[in-house]
Symmetry: C2
Subunit: 353 residues, 2 copies
């Protein structure tokens, strides 16, 4: 019999904590019955919720702490105040000590990245972590990274993102050789920052058997699904994500307004309700909930803070799949193969400069 997947949950993370985290875990468990949970947080809040979900209770252990990272706390403050004590830190700690295969938190993103990096450390060959997520496109799903874990970075950093994103895409979408595009402005060779052009050369030179570098892509390529993996440094990646989210929300609002602007439109809406629901499902931010912190010696999933139980369950699902399909080993393998090419590229470059 295969091993269980052990998932550590920060039960105090997010806008509401245990009352979303516990029922979310219960939903995910119903989809993946081979899960086990470590619920880290205030026992007094967790246990009443757990009592409502006997199946979850049967496969869960509670680790008590009443220290929680605040949502508006600066990462440095959170580290000083709650290191080794908060539910967030202890959930990550469980991964570090092999008591869990993955940690999931809906808490403060900055603090989660800081604690993840500090406690788990980065993988050999990785300088700084990245935040990756699944982006629904017109041709299925793509992996987009970095969505804001690290600002800036040199060509080697971008190439490492390409390798890690490819590992994630091949595990998640079961692809032999995912396509990779570098986010840039304009597809002409002369545009963009120097480090992006350099990264392009590096990726082309690697000529990897594990991913297929297809060149520069512009911001609208993401929604079109032009590549399985879209690579950007964290600043632009975050801007792209937020601009797209803002546009989607704007369009839903305008659509709602339009659909209630006249009696005819309202009747039309009622008739087409099923179709609208399908559209909503396809672009449901809950369903693409679950950003992955990549590049650490352990898997950490970041859920939206304002999500509901259904949405949190999707983040737990992402954690389950990454652990079940052993993303970490895949990333390590790819970094060892393609990563050595990266290290050589860097060394050659340093020798020149």
């Amino acid at each position: 019999m295969p091993q269980k997947v052990r998932i550590a949950l920060d039960a105090m993370g997010g806008d509401v904590g245990a009352s979303v985290v516990v029922p979310g875990a219960a939903i995910s468990l119903s989809r993946h019955p081979d899960s086990e949970f470590l619920l880290v947080g205030d026992r007094a809040q967790i246990e009443p919720e757990l009592a409502k979900h006997p199946a979850l209770k049967a496969v869960s252990k509670v680790i008590h702490t009443d220290v929680a990272v605040k949502n508006d706390e600066k990462p440095s403050q959170a580290l000083r105040r709650t290191r080794r004590a908060s539910s967030m830190w202890l959930a990550i700690d469980a991964v570090k000590h092999g008591e869990a295969d993955v940690a999931v938190s809906a808490g403060n993103s900055g603090a989660l990245m800081a604690m993840g990096s500090l406690n788990l450390r980065t993988l050999p060959g990785v300088d700084r972590p990245a935040l990756a997520a699944v982006w629904p496109t017109l041709r299925g799903d793509s992996v987009v990274l970095d969505l804001g874990a690290t600002i800036g970075g040199d060509a080697r950093h971008l190439a490492t993102l390409a390798v890690m994103g490819s590992a994630m895409a091949s595990v998640l979408f079961n692809l032999e050789r995912p396509t990779v595009g570098l986010l840039n402005i304009g597809s002409e060779e002369m545009k963009g920052h120097g480090e992006i052009r350099e990264a392009a050369e590096m990726l082309r030179a690697m000529n990897s058997t594990q991913f297929n570098y297809i060149g520069f892509v512009e911001g609208d390529a993401i929604g079109k699904g032009l590549a399985d993996v879209i690579v950007s440094e964290g600043f632009s990646g975050n801007i792209a994500l937020k601009a797209a989210e803002g546009t989607a929300r704007q369009m839903f609002t305008l659509l709602r307004e339009a659909m209630s602007s006249s009696w005819l439109a309202r009747i039309g809406y009622l008739l087409a309700r099923g179709a609208f629901q399908k559209l909503r499902d396809k672009l449901d931010p809950n369903k693409s909930n679950g950003g992955l912190l990549l590049g650490l010696k352990g898997v950490v999933v970041k859920s939206h803070g304002g999500t509901n139980a259904e949405g949190f369950a999707y983040a737990v699902d992402v954690g389950y799949e990454m652990a079940h399909f052993d993303l970490l080993t895949k990333i390590n393998q790819m970094l060892n193969r393609d990563g050595s090419a990266l290290v050589q590229a860097q060394t050659a470059q340093e020798a020149v400069s």
Copy 2:
């Protein structure tokens, strides 16, 4: 009687040239009868089109050239090959020599920016030009810049963008003191690049009577309409624009699919057709056609290359309004007042470093 607004059109620009440019000008003329046109391009292509629009013909002069910038040409190539000869160059030249108040082109963006900069030169106090456009939001329209004219730039560059964007917003939306936000990732003070934080300090210190700096905004703030002017360096600005365009297109496609997925949905669509049309109008990319090259000693409007006559007419409208309300004088006034604060800020900074 007030002066006419004289508009120079690159009649060879865009995917099709004169057959879009000429009817587009005719549409804009019907909205602004006090316009006059210089149509620059191949007489053999322009005149048959002009013959179909007698009202336009009556207020137009043709400047003949059969040299056109190619859509896929690199800016440096375009400059070498067509400087002082192409329809694009000559349209800009008409502005330089005071024969036109504004130039409009649907041609190659990179070439237009290069030729605009080289021929018109930047205004005193402006280092590099910016591309600004009107962005439809949930609370009306906002001005967003730079959408890709200049990659990177220091704090002073960003502050100059804020001043120029405010000038454009106050002219275009008739605002006393438009609100200005700096595009960043996360609204916490500690995030983002150093130059953005520095620009924030500069804008706060300026305490301008002509615009109201409201702080950092994230990518989703654009669609929400949280500020009248959103300022970013050109790389991230372009990524934001393209990501938003991609998402809008993606949603329209999914909506169309959903609305034809069943008979009920199709009937619903027919009933709600008016409402859909309203939504489409609100987000019609044609209607927000017309990016403005800011920071030059002359006004140049960039239209989408793939637009139709209706869309090109909107770009001409933008040019008309900017000339009619004398944007250039407004920018110069604001740069002289607030710009001197910028120069002082820079000098103080240089003295320290």
